[in-house]
């Protein structure tokens, strides 16, 4: 199979897209935020339960492509148990990784996020990967306005 193709559609991504983790709503008082990509119609809702500055639980719902679904699924795994500050740091790490800006190549810091490194070769797909992260950030901050990629 084409290398570029394999680089983008890594097994972990395919697997998470088919069986997304934490794909469920969270009841109040958890915060929720909605994200929307008007270019492709992808929607995502991210729920976060933040207590004592720590993300106790995080989940998502919505529909989108394999990249966006896998990104949200992996994100929920990564964010759980993180402090607000750590979550914010992860957001920037991920953003830099998929936009190819000074990507952090330390596998320990990237963890599972590393599978999304191939996205930066596909400018048209970067927003698919980042929408859920922008939405999670809004949920953590308690922002009410829906998040749009445009």
């Amino acid at each position: 199979m084409n290398d570029e193709l394999r680089e983008l559609y890594q097994d972990v991504i395919i697997e998470h897209s088919k069986r997304p983790r934490n794909f469920r709503p969270l009841a109040e008082p958890a915060h929720r935020a909605d994200g929307f990509n008007p270019l492709c119609g992808d929607t995502v809702t991210v729920y976060v339960d933040v207590n004592d500055d720590v993300v106790r639980d995080v989940s998502f719902q919505g529909h989108g492509c394999a990249i966006s679904t896998a990104s949200a699924s992996v994100m929920t795994e990564m964010l759980k148990g993180k402090t607000r500050e750590q979550a914010e740091h992860l957001f920037h790490t991920f953003h830099d990784l998929v936009t190819g800006q000074a990507p952090d190549s330390d596998p320990d810091r990237l963890g599972k996020l590393a599978v999304f490194a191939g996205v930066n070769e596909f400018p048209a797909r970067v927003k698919c990967a980042t929408l859920c992260w922008h939405t999670a950030r809004a949920a953590i901050e308690g922002q009410e306005e829906p998040v749009s990629t445009e």
Binding site: L5, C40, G41, D42, G64, C65, A66, R125, C128
Partner: protein, 444 residues
């Protein structure tokens, strides 16, 4: 790179010639009887006219199946535009110098060309605009805004592109009018009985897509115009997806307005045409004010020009209009009847081949379709399909195709759309099918 390289694809590459009404390739299902005089359509010959097609993308020969979004340009159009810009370009009308007169002659010759292409009764019924979207907005802001009153109605269909929805919502909101929508069946055909019921004393206009960009449905516009006219209601046809595939005769159809874009007809982008019956255009106020559309201006009062100048404020896309004329010449030299017949064969072949893949579901199965194949693959988002096909050199469109209500009707977020032109070949359909199988492999 040789012009022929883009065609080199598979074992059937040398055999891209098809006869009208007959499959000269060993297609899986034979077509009905072949007329003895069947004309040979030499797709390979025409394909060589399109320099952009002879390239590789991601190391694979480009397979361009995004023609419904924008068609590619033949050398004849590219050369005509370059020649005009190199020898005759200047601002048109009112110029006393030679270049301005030559540019005006070329520009106005394109108007004559479009008049013949649409079989309009008079050249002044041809208004140059930026594209189909502007054509519709012109009718909405000039015609509809004038005739609509509180409680009046405009009828559109469930198949419309956003450009034939939003301009009407805007003017309806402003005038307190109501937008009514003709429903469609699960096959993507408009329900004519429901249409008939929507036509009433408050209906001021029917605005209808001729060929659906999302599904390929060819609407029975002749019949629909007759029914609207029986109630005295004028009809606008959005012909963006129709003119590249179907000969259009606005007098034969008796439509009141017809609009299309140059870039879907192998011409430059940023230019299009609005046809309107002179009697209607004459009563309509100008759409935009400015130079070119006036006969005399003082600070107290302005006298507008007659048709078509009244609707052509400002310096137009002069080169684009000249390019459109060249594109129409080119399409005429190939012939819309043979083009339509050949594309029909391609569409049928592609439909049959894709239907053999159990995970594929074709969206839009109307009896009368033109050159568009929209489909979904079970469990795989169209954007992933589009990316994987791109890596195979295949350009398709993945998304809602600016027709979100169509997607909502089928309860899907998006489709993958392959759309064909006469320069596409059966070997390219095979490449698409192979690409779709590859998508399934990636997600296996």
């Amino acid at each position: 790179m040789s012009a022929a390289r883009g065609q080199r694809r598979s074992g059937s590459e040398d055999n891209v010639t098809m006869r009208r009404g007959e499959n000269v390739l060993s297609f899986p299902s034979a077509s009905p009887a072949v007329p003895a005089t069947a004309r040979v359509f030499d797709a390979a010959r025409y394909r060589a006219d399109f320099p952009i097609l002879a390239q590789s993308v991601h190391g694979k020969p480009l397979v361009y199946l995004d023609n419904a979004a924008s068609a590619q340009k033949p050398r004849q159009v590219i050369d005509a535009v370059a020649l005009f810009d190199s020898t005759d370009y200047a601002n048109i009308h009112r110029g006393v110098h030679s270049l301005s007169q030559r540019a005006t002659a070329a520009f106005e010759a394109s108007r004559d060309r479009v008049q013949r292409f649409l079989n309009a009764a008079d050249r002044k019924e041809i208004i140059f605009v930026r594209g189909t979207t502007e054509g519709i907005n012109l009718v909405a802001q000039s015609f509809a805004r004038t005739v609509l009153h509180l409680g009046d109605e405009i009828v559109i269909s469930a198949l419309e592109h956003h450009s034939n929805i939003v301009p009407w919502q805007m003017v309806c909101r402003e005038r307190g009018a109501v937008l009514r929508v003709i429903p469609m069946t699960d096959d993507g055909e408009l329900i004519l009985d429901a249409y008939e019921k929507l036509l009433g004393p408050r209906t001021r206009l029917v605005s209808l897509v001729h060929v659906s960009n999302a599904l390929g449905t060819v609407n029975p516009v002749g019949e629909m115009i007759t029914r609207a006219h029986a109630h005295g209601i004028p009809v606008l046809l959005d012909g963006a997806q129709a003119v590249p595939h179907i000969p259009v005769d606005v007098q034969g159809l008796d439509c009141d307005f017809y609009t299309f874009s140059s870039h879907k007809l192998y011409g430059p982008s940023g230019v299009g045409v609005l046809y309107g019956k002179a009697a209607l255009l004459d009563m309509m106020p100008p759409y935009q004010g400015g130079g070119e559309m006036i006969s005399a201006v003082t600070f107290e009062k302005t006298f507008y020009k007659g048709l078509p100048g009244k609707f052509e404020a400002g310096t137009p896309n002069i080169t684009g209009v000249v390019g459109l004329g060249a594109a129409i010449d080119y399409v005429d030299s190939v012939g819309l009847d043979p083009i339509g017949a050949y594309e029909h064969e391609l569409l049928q072949y592609a439909t049959e081949q894709l239907q053999r893949i159990p995970q594929v579901r074709i969206i839009g199965t109307a009896r009368d379709k033109a050159a568009v194949l929209s489909f979904i693959i079970e469990g795989i988002h169209p954007h992933d399909v589009g990316t994987i096909l791109d890596l195979e050199g295949i350009a398709v469109r993945a998304g809602h195709h600016c027709a979100q209500p169509v997607m909502q009707r089928f309860a899907i977020p998006a489709t993958t759309r392959a759309s064909f032109a006469f320069y596409n070949t059966p070997a390219e359909v095979d490449a698409l099918v192979t690409g779709v199988r590859k998508v399934l492999e990636v997600f296996a």
